[in-house]
């Protein structure tokens, strides 16, 4: 056991922020859907997994065509994955949730679990149950610190993840805060019946919410497949569970909360892996959730739910 090393600490922050960015991107899908229809979309992890598959397939295909510009690969992959994954999001909402609108809360929850199992098996049938891997697209990075001692390693890929995440989070925040559709989303999440009464097509708003959530999950999927170069049909389960934890931790229904929750969770896991043991990272992640909920049941940035009379 060596003493506390500042460089190691910085390294864990970098790793934690990378992981946290991914969690945050997925968590937004949970929190937006919950904010509007009060339902946990348990198929969201699978939507992310599909985004990762599409990302990996597109990158591999682009490699076959000899495309080697990083920015071209990134833009094309993000665009295609967002389109494909977004349409999955839309379809899932249309087929599995919209027909159940107005039924007891448990019913769409079960439907969501059904969709989750369906998508997992559907991808297994199409792509096989084993890991699919590819050559890393972006390698290398910067090293900081004295030669021969511990060096902080910041890979280009980590920087890319951070930049892409910030770009998409900013776009989403502007969309929700400034656009008419975003305004309608906020109105629906506060009082859907009233929004409907004022002439807002709430079904359309809900569909937009699912598509936006799926699009951000697709971004996370693409980034993960570029980062690890590896996907399998089961990655959606744990990632979904973690992102859901992040959403609850930040305050479910709150978009800034999901962002914060993702980052906090990523950092916690990273520190747990480094200073305890790697096996403890999930214990710490879920323990953190329980701890926060005991003190603040609404999550870090959640508003207390005022019962309407």
């Amino acid at each position: 056991m060596s003493g506390f090393s500042l460089l190691e600490f910085i390294q864990q922050i970098i790793n934690g922020l990378t992981l946290g960015s991914i969690y945050a991107l997925i968590a937004i899908g949970y929190t937006m859907v919950y904010g509007i229809i009060g339902m946990i979309n348990f198929a969201h992890g699978e939507i992310y997994m599909i985004g990762a598959y599409v990302g990996l397939l597109v990158i591999t295909a682009l490699g076959l065509f000899g495309v080697d510009s990083i920015s071209a690969i990134l833009l094309a992959t993000l665009a295609i994955s967002i389109l494909v994954t977004g349409s999955y999001g839309w379809t899932v909402e249309r087929l599995a949730y919209r027909p159940l609108r107005g039924s007891p809360r448990l019913v769409p929850l079960i439907s969501a679990i059904g969709v989750s199992i369906f998508l997992q098996n559907y991808v297994q049938l199409g792509q096989g149950a084993r890991d699919v891997s590819m050559q890393p697209v972006l390698t290398g990075g910067w090293r900081f610190g004295p030669e021969g001692d511990f060096q902080v390693y910041l890979s280009y890929m980590q920087v890319l993840i951070a930049v892409v995440t910030v770009v998409f989070m900013t776009s989403l925040t502007l969309f929700i805060g400034r656009s008419r559709m975003g305004r309608a989303c906020r109105a629906c999440s506060e009082d859907r019946a009233m929004a409907n009464l004022l002439g807002i097509d709430t079904d359309r708003v809900i569909a937009v919410t699912f598509v936006l959530g799926a699009a951000l999950a697709a971004v996370a999927g693409v980034l993960v497949s570029m980062y690890y170069g590896l996907v399998n049909p089961f990655i959606g389960f744990m990632a979904g569970l973690k992102a859901f934890t992040a959403a609850v931790l930040g305050g479910i229904g709150s978009i800034p909360g999901a962002m914060l929750g993702g980052v906090v969770l990523g950092l916690a896991e990273s520190f747990a892996s480094a200073y305890l043991q790697t096996e403890y990272k999930d214990v710490v992640a879920f323990g953190l959730l329980i701890g926060v909920l005991l003190v603040r049941p609404t999550g870090l940035l959640g508003r207390p739910d005022v019962e309407k009379v």
């Binding site: 008419r180 559709m181 305004r183 309608a184 109105a187 506060e190 009464l197 004022l198 002439g199 508003r303």
Partner: protein, 268 residues
């Protein structure tokens, strides 16, 4: 018969009332909440429904506004049956309402609350919004102008960018009225608009309702307990008790009606 015909000139048939409620009945299981209520609201009228608590006034509102589907009876707006329509279709036909417990979007700003209610009249396609086409900008600017006009009207212009939930109660009530009026309704339904207001705010409300009718040609149907407001403002009053209508007439008649006095004060 012939005498009556001679009185009314044949060329001018009485204009059809804006709202016609006929034989309205609403049953919840074993409870007959509204029984055989009928009345008309004319285009330029301020019409009040009063009655003790539990008389079924809000249930009547909910039936008219499409929140409940009446068990039997008809509701016509401008000659068109609306009792089978959903509340937002009814709102689009020009019948809007406020609620006993104010229902604003509390975490949104005052001006956003007014923009939201113009949503259906604004284009919301994603791409024009993303690229802020001139058409999109113009529509948004017009919506903002209308919002500013109504904020000025109800005296909330200086708090336009505050969160609606942080306004004083009386301000929230006025914002709710502005949110209704910005859609150019034909009929405005107010469910206890003076509840929780102080005497000064009640007088302001009285003036505002009269202005809305005079300047914007809206008919008003209101439920209210504040007798000073009701008696001063209404052209016609319907009194309900235990779900049944017990009297209809001008304020002066209602004030003298022994059945009304009995319903409110009990028997001697």
């Amino acid at each position: 018969m012939s005498l009556e015909l001679a009185k009314t000139p044949a060329a001018e048939p009485a204009p059809r009332p804006l709202l016609e409620v006929r034989a309205l009945r609403m049953r919840f299981g074993g409870l007959l909440a509204v029984d055989n209520v009928q009345f008309d609201v004319r285009r330029d009228q301020i019409f009040a429904i009063i009655g003790p608590n539990g008389a079924g006034k809000t249930t009547v509102f909910n039936c008219i506004g499409g929140f409940y589907r009446p068990t039997t009876g008809t509701v016509m707006l401008d000659g068109q049956p609306i009792h089978h329509l959903t509340s937002h279709r009814i709102a689009r036909l020009g019948l809007v309402r406020t609620f006993q417990n104010v229902r604003l979007f509390k975490t949104m700003t005052v001006v956003e609350n007014l923009l939201i209610s113009q949503h259906s009249q604004l284009e919301t396609r994603l791409l024009p919004g993303l690229f802020k086409t001139p058409k999109y900008r113009r529509a948004e600017a017009e919506a903002l102008d209308r919002a500013a006009f109504w904020l000025e009207k109800v005296g909330l212009l200086e708090v336009a960018n505050r969160e609606a939930g942080n306004l004083a109660y009386g301000q929230q009530r006025r914002l709710e009225i502005a949110r209704c009026m910005i859609t150019h309704p034909k009929l405005l339904m107010l469910d206890e608009p003076a509840a929780g207001l102080n005497p000064q705010e009640t007088r302001d409300l009285d003036r505002l309702i009269n202005e809305l009718r005079a300047e914007h040609g809206v008919a008003v149907l209101l439920i209210e307990h504040d007798m000073s407001l009701v008696m001063g403002i209404s052209d016609e009053i319907l009194v309900m008790e235990y779900g049944r209508p017990i009297a209809t007439g001008a304020p002066a008649e209602i004030r003298r009606d022994p059945r009304v006095i009995k319903a409110y004060l009990g028997e001697e």
